[in-house]
Symmetry: C2
Subunit: 216 residues, 2 copies
């Protein structure tokens, strides 16, 4: 095995250790942590905004972006407590970044933490950051074949949320086929269809999240 | 400097060497090479399909995807010669992959090569793969702030193509602000607005590509 691979494994091993420690911390506090992954503009922040009214006081959000704190501002405006990680170039969050962010969040009364990863349907799939589950977010505007082209993100996720249903009449996207591609990558995947703008499907997804939290 | 960084730099140095060699090869053949980068579903393949009628016989396409050869099939159906690279997990193309693909392409009469990178607005920005220029592709459905949140892709590109103009009436996206964010990341960036469905803006973008090829 080359030195490069050995070193990469050491780095990944250390990151996994921090992720496990962080996950224990969340469990001890009775917090269920969801790692949201998806392309830039897939609708991750809008999904959180749409869920916010039902989550006031009991959810917190960690926003991951390369630059800007736009998403933290949006989440705070929706009434949830949020903090922002800027990776300054890194293509995914790692557990050490999340641990630092957790120290900045007030977690009193919080039973759900959403961690919105950097917009990237590839790299975030390969890293644990303390979450209980990953959820992949894919919009109808991206096209029905994305779960086939980015299977790792789907395979590592417990659920896929298909967003922007309101745009379906204007784009060529067969959501049934998208879900079939996703099922091929992950037969036990749960699928949800939502529209953050109209609220369609939001309650059902949130019910499922809360059930997953109860039954973990 | 740690071993890890030294090794990473060696790998990157080797990749840069292959990229330079590939670029010399393209130049000797009178070929201008364009590296298209953008999120999954940004509209990179649709842009190529829309340009295809004007490019028959003189352009070839290298498709980069983690899995599937959907995009190669689409490009061939549009009448252009294409080959497919599957990275099988890697989040961006590298120069060695492209060199291998070039050997499979028939380049007789070809003066333009488009290399569609893996759908990812982050990692492909950091790698040269033999291209003369990078072009960033961003759709209006991703939201106006993406150039601010993913500045490296914009900073490394010679042009940004804003796609899916037909969806503008249905989404909240101020293209002027998107272009202003892009200009902040790269003041010399050229901006284009296109709609692959209606053909709007396609000729103008292609004129610019051809002028860039002539004046390099």
């Amino acid at each position: 095995m080359s030195k490069k691979i050995v070193l990469a494994e050491k780095v990944k091993g250390k990151s996994k250790e921090i992720a496990d420690e962080l996950n224990r911390f969340f469990r001890e506090k009775g917090i269920f942590a969801v790692n949201l992954i998806g392309s830039p503009g897939a609708g991750k922040t809008s999904l959180l905004e749409a869920m916010a009214p039902r989550l006031h006081g009991r959810a917190a959000v960690i926003e991951g972006d390369i630059q800007t704190d736009h998403d933290r501002q949006r989440i705070e405006q929706s009434g949830l407590c949020a903090c922002q990680i800027n990776t300054l170039g890194a293509c995914h969050l790692d557990a050490a970044m999340v641990r630092k962010a957790v120290n900045e969040l007030s977690l009193d009364g919080v039973s759900l933490v959403f961690i919105e990863n950097v917009g990237n349907l590839v790299c975030p799939a390969g890293f644990e950051i303390g979450e209980d589950i990953k959820v992949a977010v894919v919009s109808v505007t991206e096209g029905e074949d994305k779960p086939a082209k980015y299977p790792s993100a789907i395979a590592k996720s417990r659920a896929m949320v298909v967003t922007k249903l309101d745009l379906l009449p204007h784009v060529e996207c067969d959501v049934g086929r998208m879900e079939a591609y996703a099922a091929a990558a992950n037969p036990s995947l749960e699928c949800f269809r939502v529209c953050a703008k109209t609220g369609e499907g939001i309650e059902t997804f949130l019910d499922w999240i809360e059930e997953a939290a109860r039954s973990r």
